[in-house]
Subunit: 175 residues, 2 copies
DNA sequence: AGTATTGGCGATTATTCTTCGGCAGAAAGG
DNA sequence: CCTTTCTGCCGAAGAATAATCGCCAATACT
């Protein structure tokens, strides 16, 4: 019989499929990643080794990027959360702008489509620290301005969820 | 001797202090929460049981809110990340608006100071799904408009960091 | 000084992770 | 249609880790 001589995988599962079991495992891990495989298996209807194998695969495929502790910003002395929109002349992403990613106050940076070039999520200990961050931004060549949104209350803040809404409710369009 | 009869703690550590050891532990756990206590202890300079005890305390005090798996949005079929600003007449936080938190696409919701009332972070599978979400928002009474920022590239996205910058570099203020 | 309390360490036990062999079900191939 | 091949799950065993305990040093309070 012809053995697999061309080095390719046995012709299956090129792009790993995420099935219903995987979805449930991912949802459970996103909610709480500190539970045992036995408990996970019980929750999704599989044995512990089966869950272990699936998690290993999900991890390798990149669906699970890591597992992190969720810290409380206020408890750590960083009670001030802000979203900073940066307007830049020319193209926003500069080497110089990437420097600010080294500050632990910066949690997110995206380039966006809209009336801003780059968007930062920043958590600082004080308005002064936010001001210092903004000074850093304004010191970047090409930056023409910033617009900041200070979070007053956070009603939800959670990691990427595994679920997908496939049937959005028909909203009652108010005339 | 007078025994503690008034039900209060022995007059110490009312508000738990986070020392340098805790900081390092938290930083390590925020980066990767799947490492063993032995490794953590080695990294921060403590024994495994000491780290275990500190983590237990940090967890109880609320500094550690939980541990979650970081999932890849694109791998899960949600490649579209958007920040949605909502403008509302009157006060933004309504019971009706809280309903949308049930959608797994919604990852964050804050009320903010700035030229918007509420800010959402939403991750959807398609522009259509984002449109459906916006329709939900617009269906909320009092909402006068939304402004959406579509993420083109994400350069950084990480959980709350333990570190705090205490000496911001003096920026070269360009003339 | 004396006393009480806290927090760290080493050692032990309990739990969990991880791997292994075997088996059943589903695709390819004759 | 039957065989072959492969995948994925399970139960069980071994390895690693988590969790607990008693003891000791350092600190704070009387």
């Amino acid at each position: 019989m012809a053995k697999n001589t061309d080095g390719l995988r046995q012709g299956r599962r090129q792009q790993p499929v995420i099935d219903a079991f995987d979805r449930r495992i991912l949802a459970a891990l996103a909610a709480d990643s500190s539970q045992s495989y036995a408990r996970l298996g019980e929750a999704v209807g599989l044995s512990a080794p089966a869950v272990h194998e699936r998690v290993r695969r999900l991890r390798q495929s990149g669906a699970i990027k890591g597992v992190h502790a969720a810290l409380d910003g206020a408890a750590l002395g960083k009670p001030l959360l802000a979203f900073v929109h940066v307007e830049a002349a020319g193209w926003g992403k500069s080497e110089r702008l990437m420097q600010v990613l080294q500050f632990p106050e910066v949690e997110e940076m995206h380039s966006v489509a809209g009336d801003a070039s780059v968007l930062f999520k920043v958590r600082t200990g004080s308005p002064q620290a936010l001001e210092a961050f903004l000074a850093q931004i304004h010191a970047v060549p090409g930056v023409t301005g910033t617009r900041s949104y200070i979070a007053l209350s956070t009603y939800l803040e959670r990691p990427v969820q595994a679920g997908v809404t496939d049937s959005w409710p028909d909203m009652p369009m108010p005339e």
